[in-house]
Symmetry: C2
Subunit: 159 residues, 2 copies
DNA sequence: TATTGACCTCAAGTTTAGTTGAGGTTCTAT
DNA sequence: ATAGAACCTCAACTAAACTTGAGGTCAATA
């Protein structure tokens, strides 16, 4: 039989299982996040993890950041850079989300540019090293020096 | 001393090193792609890889697909599904890129939705499990049955 | 009290996309 | 002919983000 309903013990600390159920992440993931310093726990007498309810908000923030494509290591850095590593406040959230939004915007812009190039190249199919924007993303030409590159490859059209 | 310039032997097959230089991927990556069935090679008498020039186009297509976020395994499947696994034609390219564009569009839409939610939630910071769209992406509610979920969590606002 | 579900640690495995290294061979210019 | 660049194979390593499993403990309930 499942664990007894605990709604009648208000504001208790949460067990891993409860946090897992409420946050939607696996217990093993909570362990993992702990080893990575993303979340913390207190321990019960019997060495079991106990969490304050604020961990749920923290996990929510972690998952949102992940959805935007931020690696866990970076998330950890930003979270631990907060004063005292304290409970997340609305102002922290504003700060973090502003930052992540900028990041996300950049990714969206890159993908959108790619889509537009793709759109204009469909049906063309040239994929010419010289002429096709898909094959020459702006940041590739400069890597070896555009001049040398273009000269080196001048006239190669049969690939 | 570096290898002699071979421009005077036109239309020769290419060595790995040449393909690497011209495509911008490492030799080890070309080996790797070969083990994954993404590209193929002929061998010289001495067992060295030799590539037709068409491999460059194939690699270009692979890299574009990767930029859109398609995993290599999927790229491999789509490339090998082409009739005879032959050289890529413009029509193949049109087909593939159309497909990938749709994929890319979906990813862009998801990220854009996330950004918009982020924008509207900055400064709010509620992250309420009930009310915040960031914490309840549409596809989460239905996972366990929205009804049960909402009832189970009703009244929990202190996280 | 005894069962059983939930929990613990630590090590190892998984996937994706490659890179690195050891030990040995081939190729090409001199 | 020979040096040295380029190539070969195969195994092992990397990184991120987890999951799985073994072996054992804790806690709530019948």
């Amino acid at each position: 039989m499942p664990e007894k309903e605990r709604a009648d013990l208000p504001r208790r600390e949460l067990t891993v299982g409860e946090v897992a159920a409420r946050s939607g992440v696996a217990v093993s993931t909570l362990h993992f996040y702990e080893t990575k310093g993303l979340i913390k726990s207190m321990r019960s007498r019997g060495n079991q993890r106990r969490y304050p309810r604020s961990v749920l908000r923290r996990i929510a923030v972690i998952k949102i950041a992940q959805r935007t494509g931020i690696p866990l290591a970076d998330i950890q850095k930003e979270l631990s850079a907060l004063p005292n590593d304290r409970q997340l406040l609305a102002s922290d959230w504003a700060h973090l989300s502003e930052h992540w939004k900028a990041d996300l915007n950049e990714r969206i812009n890159k993908l959108t540019a790619l889509r537009d190039q793709l759109t204009s190249c469909i049906g063309c199919g040239c994929l010419s090293m010289r002429d096709c924007p898909l094959r020459n993303p702006y940041d590739t030409l400069s890597e070896k020096g555009a001049g040398a590159y273009l000269i080196e490859h001048a006239g190669e059209e049969l690939d």
